[in-house]
């Protein structure tokens, strides 16, 4: 019997709180990303070094994606969206290190990420439109749509969570099944496919988060067009 993908191994206890494996991996990824970001931005120069050029390329690509998807100036969103993308990508690819299971293969990690997206939709919506303006978007085409819009607010975040969880978990699960059926080197093509799926899912999660935030916050179509015409 293959062990259930829904239960987690407890590594050690901090007082009464059990610390599970995904939590440790998540903190490791967070530490790696934070240290990498710290050392990358410590000595920024006007004429970039090779390392700084790579970082600038990544940040520029994320800004271009935000500009292209949300049609607004990317400055307020690039920190959140960029962190989300880099974290999910690092989490999905952390299975490259032997013995480590990606933390996104457990629904708790994905639920936390979905909660971040849910809260930031409300935050950016209220920040751009004000509380009244944000609440008015729920009755946007007509007041009849109010319950559907309310339900949609929750279900779209939930489907975001289940999509990431299902894709990453199914990859881990299938590799485990193949490994238990066949020999040592047979799952390698599937693992390569899993890397592609991990990258695509990170991209999709980020793009959908951008679309949701954009629909709550990007303002009226006309005002967005005016902002772009000004410069």
């Amino acid at each position: 019997m293959i062990e259930s993908p829904l239960v987690m191994k407890t590594l050690f206890m901090v007082g009464p709180v059990p610390v599970t494996e995904p939590v440790v991996v998540t903190w490791g990824i967070m530490a790696a990303l934070a240290l990498g970001g710290f050392f990358a931005t410590r000595s920024l120069a006007l004429s970039p070094t090779r390392y700084q050029a790579v970082i600038e390329l990544v940040v520029g690509a994320i800004e271009d994606q935000i500009q292209g998807t949300m049609h607004v100036a990317p400055k307020p969103y690039v920190a959140m969206i960029g962190t989300l993308f880099l974290f999910i990508l690092a989490a999905n690819w952390s299975s490259l290190i032997p013995g480590i299971e990606p933390p996104t293969a457990h629904i708790e990690t994905d639920a936390a990420l979905g909660l971040v997206v849910f809260c930031s939709i409300i935050y950016f919506g209220i920040r751009v439109r004000g509380i009244g303006g944000y609440l008015r978007t729920f009755a946007e085409p007509s007041i009849v749509m109010l319950p559907i819009n309310l339900v949609e607010t929750f279900t779209r975040t939930f489907s975001l969570v289940v999509r990431l969880f299902g894709n990453v978990m199914s990859g881990v699960f299938i590799i485990a099944i193949i490994l238990s059926l066949a020999g040592l080197f047979v799952p390698i093509p599937l693992m390569a496919l899993e890397l592609l799926i991990g990258a695509i899912q990170a991209y999709i999660f980020t793009v959908l988060a951008m679309v949701f935030i954009g629909s709550a916050a990007a303002g009226e179509r006309t005002s967005g067009r005016k902002q772009r015409e000004q410069p």
Partner: protein
């Protein structure tokens, strides 16, 4: 092995097998349309295939939902204690 477990295993099988039919048809149509578009306009192949990958992942999510339901039925069934 009681009745609930037997029915659960059967339900998981049915969920995955029938849940895979719709996404398979959808992915086939999407790939066919993308091939058509690339054949008509080979210079747009990069954009088309990038969009195709994202679209395929979105369609595949439907099959993944069925897999998640099947795993819930198998491993986290509320009626099996």
């Amino acid at each position: 092995m009681n009745w609930i477990e037997i029915v659960s295993i059967f339900a998981a099988t049915v969920a995955v097998s029938f849940g895979a039919v719709g996404p398979a048809l959808g992915e086939g149509r999407a790939v066919a349309a993308a091939m058509d578009a690339i054949a008509r306009q080979p210079e747009a192949a990069g954009t088309i295939s990038r969009t195709l990958f994202v679209g395929l992942a979105m369609i595949e999510t439907m099959a993944i939902y069925c897999l998640v339901v099947a795993l819930l039925v198998l491993f986290a069934n509320p009626f099996v204690r």
